[in-house]
Amino acid sequence: MRYIPNSPEERDEMLAVVGLTVAKELFRSIPEDVQLNRALNITEPLAESEVIAAMEAMAAKNIAATKPSFLGAGVYSHFSPTIVDHLIQRSEFFTSYTPYQPEISQGTLQYIFEFQTLICQLTGMEVANASMYDGSTAMAEAYLMAQRVTRRDKIVVTTSVHPEYREVARTYTQHGAAEIVSIPFDKKTGRIADLSALDDKTAALVVQSPNFFGCIEELSTLADAAHDVGALFVVVVTEAISLGLLKSPGACGADIVVGEGQSFGIPMGFGGPHVGLFATRDKFVRQMPGRLCGVAYDKNGNRGFVLTLSTREQHIRREKATSNICTNQGLIALAATIYMETMGKKGLQEVAMQNAQKAAYAAKQIAAIDGFEIAFSAPKFNEFVVSSSKPAEAVLSKVRIENGIIGGLTLSRYYPDRPNEFLVCVTETNTKTEIDNLVSSLAGK
């Protein structure tokens, strides 16, 4: 086996040193009757070229990856500068462990610290952690944290929050005390309409903005409503690029901001690995889940970084920990960090603006086609819902099969009561030509 740096002879010598003769004897503490006494029924070992060929053959069946696409809904196609993937492939980063030995992990620790800072800056919050698995689990953890902070158990969440996020949060909370109350969105504006569910039992009001339909919520108003009943205001962001243009959740009064960082230069990769974002206020820091990196000094006064406040975590607190998370999404946080640093202030602003502009252009063009209109009136960022006079499934199939374009996501996948609608996402990677082609395909031209 070419990955094992010992020859058969070396292994025999080592066996002799430990007083054995054959490898099987290494396992004598395993009762014979639970030892496997046959070969596993898996493929024969393949040569490197054969593995590549097998993988390429499978990849080639993913024809969606080759088509112009207007899919968003929590996973976005953005351009990632080449240096991102090159730098995360430095083995100093990708072949190292969680930085538990700070003296030889300052590279990792420093980027985590930068990541935490950047997430604070973009979300407008005071403290952010070193990453969660993804946006959905980050939201689930926000529910749990809100319960801990407020000692209340009612979570009010709008149905315009990403449906898969809500499913995950339901799974996480099903055995706890949480009571989840879903509140609807306004059919006209696409925004939250009715906050009557908020009361003095409410631990958190949870909204997504831009929401699943691409509509931007009036966060400041919602924050006030939550705070009025003593609840935390939790804002979910699935499209992190929007932070370059939209008023930050922190500036609007959010207490916890959770989200998905995939937009920051991470490949869509069939849904993962991505990176969950989690930010909050300083005063809640000891209730946060996940790892935190902080400044520390050595005895000569040199600045360095360490993982800190770990008394919140499972390896110290065990069943009383703020979360069970251990392995997180470190390397993806690095990729996101490099993305944010490379784009910088100007780049994050410009890319956000381009997304908004292109989506606005696309929406205008689509709205001008007979039989199509834009579903909600609230301002949008880079996604919007299109209502069609025909079933969305049929419309999108036609566009896909006849024109080779993935035109968006049928809302009925998650909202069976909305069969004629689909969600369109337009990013800086969609050229005008692609948009125009989508428009003419929808128009049946």
Binding site: I42, E103, F270, G271, S323, Q329, T342, L348, K358
Partner: protein
């Protein structure tokens, strides 16, 4: 030779990116906007727009970023630099082939919500990996959705809960006790708690095994939902009584969860499914070599017996004829644990690992991993205190007992190893051994490097006896010395701010 130190070495003093930022530098270029622009106010009312000009976000060039990241990278140790014997972490070689195939455009550029008929390759890959992992563990049910070991645990414990709820109905609420050995990893109790269980601790014996008598006693107390057992356990010893353990729990009406973090000792040699285990999680980022990435991402598949399979997270990836499909139709499912399909990129790497090894290679790797640990255990037993005398599997455990008399404790030994060019072992875990040093060489270290490590450990012992302060003050060769973690936690500084001290307190 004494070194004439220079303080301004740029690589050793690379600042935070925020401290490098200069107004007006840029590191990006986007294509020109190619559509007719909408006026900004029409696009978005002013009150919804940011008005802080992204204050504080750095402005740097591409070159700045490349140098910044490259410089700080040199402050890290890594598997590619040498032995990384973190016990319980399985820091094995992360093959470049796996990295390459994970980046194939048809995988990396695929949207998870694209139509099933256009993502058949990705579903096929998931399916194939599922099949192989089921064969490897001997358990027929599987979900690849969990993002890491801890999430796999939570999923598995929830399966147990769902099974008990279905089996026992209302009665189930009287079974809320999860048994966990004192040697278990912290994620075990934390995951159990997240699934609504209370934890009871099972003692270990002097041999480092589950105390069967204590187990029986606790079972007799009733209310047992299950046991979470790591096997080989966290001291690196195979639980020889595994069948009896499972039988005891089953007899008590509970189920057995196996923490599969240590599967690198078993793959191709023995299967949890054959031992009576009901649920297990794997860490693809350990046993199946997907890179740890400085903390993640991972992938923590959850596997289970046929009885529990109906409760697995949805959607499940299944094969119908020649087609691969997502099946949501499991009404008993515990639900989704992660958006989309889990950490797919890790699955590509793991399957590439399995393809590269085949059965022979997997078994060879297991043998090599166990042999390496056994060798270290044998070669250091005269120097370091060995708390347990049973055969170690893939990791060797020692304590600082022989050195602590001189005031040299595990942490010091660990730090001194750094000067010798090695990453320290896992320290102070598991908690059952005072001053534990848990050494897992994995199969990715050759005899010559192992010998160098052993020699270093012996040297450190000699130093501890002759010149303990040398060890206590270690490391001596790093850019930065031991950091004051207590103060860091007492006055946490968790983000950069403009008024922060730069580089050193005195600077």
């Amino acid at each position: 030779m004494s070194i004439k130190k220079v303080t301004q070495h740029p690589t050793q003093n690379e600042a935070l990116i925020f401290e490098r930022s200069k107004t007006g530098r840029v590191g990006y270029r986007l294509p020109k906007l190619d559509v007719q622009p909408t006026s900004i106010d029409e696009l978005l009312p002013a009150e919804l727009r940011r008005d802080d000009d992204l204050n504080g976000v750095p402005e740097v060039s591409e070159v700045d970023v490349v140098r910044h990241i490259t410089r700080i990278s040199t402050w890290n140790y890594s598997i590619d630099l040498g032995m990384y014997p973190l016990g319980s972490c399985t820091m094995k070689y992360n093959s470049r082939l796996n990295e390459k195939v994970a980046r194939i455009g048809g995988f990396a550029g695929l949207h998870p919500l694209a139509p099933e008929e256009e993502t058949q390759g990705a579903l096929e890959l998931i399916y194939r990996l599922q099949e192989d992992l089921c064969e490897i563990t001997g358990l027929p049910g599987i979900s690849l959705q969990p993002a890491a070991g801890a999430q796999g645990e939570m999923t598995g414990v929830m399966l147990i809960r769902a099974f008990l709820d279905q089996r026992d109905g209302e009665e189930s609420k009287n079974r809320r006790v999860m048994l966990i050995p004192d040697s278990a990893h912290g994620t075990n109790p934390a995951s159990a708690a997240m699934s609504g269980f209370t934890v009871k601790t099972i003692r270990s014996t002097a041999e480092g095994l589950t105390d069967m008598q204590h187990l029986q006693e606790v079972c007799d107390e009733g209310g047992v939902a299950g046991l979470m057992l790591t096997n080989p356990n966290t001291v690196g010893i195979f639980e020889t009584n595994i069948r009896e353990i499972c039988a005891t729990i089953h007899a008590a009406g509970g189920l057995v969860y196996m923490d599969g973090a240590n599967m690198n000792a078993l793959v191709g040699v023995a299967r949890p499914g054959d031992m009576g285990v009901d649920v297990i999680h794997l860490n693809l980022h350990k046993t199946f070599s997907t890179p740890h990435g400085g903390g993640g991402p991972g992938c923590g598949p959850c596997l289970c017996s046929a009885d529990l399979a109906q409760f697995l997270p949805i959607p499940k990836v299944e094969k119908k004829g020649d087609e691969y499909t997502l099946n949501y139709d499991y009404p008993g499912s515990i639900g989704r644990v992660k958006a989309f399909h889990g950490n797919f990129g890790m699955m590509v790497r793991a399957l590439s690992y399995i393809y590269t090894h085949g059965f022979d290679g997997l078994k060879e790797a297991t043998e090599a991993a166990v042999l390496n640990a056994r060798y270290v255990s044998h070669e250091l037993e005269d120097t370091y205190d060995k708390p347990f005398h049973g055969d170690c599997m893939h990791e060797a455990i020692f304590s600082h007992k022989n050195q602590s008399k001189k005031g040299v404790v595990t942490l010091d030994i660990a730090k001194r190893l750094i000067d010798y060019g090695f990453h320290p072992m896992t320290v102070y875990f598991p908690l059952v051994v005072e001053g534990a040093m848990l050494i897992e060489p994995t199969e990715s270290v050759g005899r010559s490097d192992l010998d160098a490590f052993i020699e270093a450990m012996r040297d450190i012992d000699r130093e501890a006896q002759d010149d303990p302060q040398l060890v206590i003050d270690a490391p001596h060769s790093t850019r930065i010395g031991r950091l004051d973690e207590a103060t860091a936690a007492r006055k946490p500084v968790l983000r950069w701010r403009e008024d922060m001290e730069i580089l050193s307190k005195t600077a």
